[in-house]
Subunit: 336 residues, 2 copies
């Protein structure tokens, strides 16, 4: 193989928003796959808020990316050489391939996907870990029941859009929180949420009180900060607060803002529970099948925002933290 | 009846620690009990951190005490006149009698207790709502399992002392957090906790790491603030954080300090859950019987700190917030 693999490696642990100097763009020749290995040409990279956490030092649910290592990322690609009988040249696959143009895999964690059924970016979003996060977070951690009032922050984001639609599919009232009138219109008109609070223009505490007169039964939180506090003020008795993420806090340089209204948990006999989707790995196929069925039936909409150009990765990632994406943010590395 | 009933009424909603001017000491003649009513001479008042919350305006798990009303409080007393065949003169009873010397009751919420079996203050503490709070908080909300590492803040307090001993009875490792060497010695030597962290002298985060090398499975929190944050840093996977109270925050004038380390819930797939003991009212008799049995067998120790003089109530209450009590704080109103 004469090809060159470009890779974004972590050069420094960021303080605040990742800067260009926190990355190092390196090149190395693509080697041939060894026995049992496959060579994958990466076509799409999944851009996820969780990536910011992986760049930090310290104990977490997964090892931090080491300085000098290729940045961890989910991705979709095409097998271009294979010494593994399970994967043929031309197969499309997803996996934790990293921010690079090619990857050699031993087949572990590799999932075959069919681009004729759904576009590849869907397998990184709604039918990937993002959608599964919404599914298990809402149904298992949130213990969703028909008739619940469900509030979802980051409602126009990759996880939030799926969570809200699942809530509707399960017979719940779904209220989103998103930034700006376009996102809010998308959430209510396209996705079918019952309401959406524009946190940039509205008093979130008051708006939630208005939209959830009986209180919130399940709050699915992707953002943390003041919006989490506003939701806590509006809990119903026995509410479940699902801590999926806290994008407003990931780039703080002044310390995480803890939820000042956490004693609402006491007053309402409510719970706040965190999770990572990996807890449910054994049930991924079952959940993905159910969601694929919903998409096929037109009951679950999936939206991907595709940006282009491998070299734009450092800036593309920041779109997540600037609130610039609607739906799943994906970086196209090469035309499929 | 020629007797006079003295009462502490709420004169103003306190800002910070309740001041003498937040109370009004009033007197009124004791009236005869009407049909179906009993007249109780109050002997002991239960002093509880939760009382501070009842003095605040706003929605909570129970109505706030209104300005001008007799302050709400649990109490124990003796029936001195009765028109209710269920209660005879001379019976001892507990109930939410309020901060006063006499109370007329219609029998609702009145519980007969036997002062020959246990001293009356025990029925306000370990065998009262305080002990029941520890029992249900640990076993139901905390989902305690044998072998768990359990950490309890306010370990020398009325609820904490019971929670830690129940943890030991159930085959767990119990680590307390308390203020000062005397309280810590009491917690380990008298109550049998495996260790106790002195938060006034030790770095709580480091001390918990040392005493809980496998992480905390159940954290029973009575205090909030920095100690809650320290515990969150030391959670084991799947940990349960029981929010029983937050005494460090009840008198804040600068806003509640939310737990900055709450994302430890996400990283560890852990939960934080609040509760009020009233949720378990149907099971009070069952739980109180079990605990009475433990006390009788010498397996559960109960300690009460009795202060005297009805008129000292405003200052006696503050002992709780100054950390001056070990065990259950009780105000003796009259010699039983």
């Amino acid at each position: 193989m004469a090809a060159t693999n470009r890779q974004f490696r972590l050069a420094a642990r960021p303080v605040g928003l990742p800067k260009p100097s926190d990355w190092k763009l390196t090149e190395e020749p693509v080697r041939d796959p060894g026995p049992g290995e496959v060579l994958v040409k990466i076509l799409y990279l999944s851009l996820d808020p969780a990536m910011r956490g992986w760049m930090n030092e310290g104990r977490s649910y997964i090892e931090p990316v080491k300085i000098g290592d290729v940045m961890r990322a989910g991705a979709a690609g095409r097998v271009i050489a294979s010494n593994d009988p399970s994967f043929a040249v031309g197969d499309h696959v997803t996996g934790a391939f990293g921010v690079q143009e090619y990857v050699i895999s031993n087949g572990k964690g590799l999932t075959k996907v069919d681009p004729k059924l759904f576009p590849l970016p869907v397998y990184l979003g709604t039918l990937g870990l993002t959608g599964l996060t919404a599914y298990f977070g809402l149904l298992e951690v949130g213990q969703l029941k028909a008739g619940d009032t469900v509030v979802i922050s980051g409602a126009a984001g990759a996880t939030g859009m799926v969570a809200g639609q699942i809530a509707k599919l399960k017979g719940c009232r779904a209220v989103g929180i998103a930034g700006g009138p376009e996102k809010c219109a998308y959430v209510t008109r396209e996705l079918g949420f019952d309401a959406c609070v524009d946190y940039k223009r509205e008093n979130v505490t008051q708006a939630l009180r208005q939209h959830c007169p009986q209180g919130i039964n399940v709050y699915f939180d992707n953002v943390g900060g003041e919006i989490l506090d506003a939701a806590l003020l509006n809990l119903a008795r026995g509410a479940r607060v699902v801590i999926c993420g806290a994008i407003s806090q990931y780039n703080t340089t002044t310390g995480i803002k803890g939820p000042s209204n956490y004693l609402s948990l006491l007053v309402n006999s409510a719970r706040m529970e965190g999770f990572v989707v990996f807890n449910y790995a054994a049930r991924y196929p079952e959940a993905a099948c159910e969601m694929a069925g919903w998409i096929g039936q037109g009951k679950l909409k999936s939206r991907e925002q595709v940006v282009e150009g491998f070299e734009t990765f450092p800036d593309a990632l920041l779109k997540l933290f600037r609130g610039e994406n609607t739906g799943k943010l994906v970086l196209k590395v090469e035309e499929p």
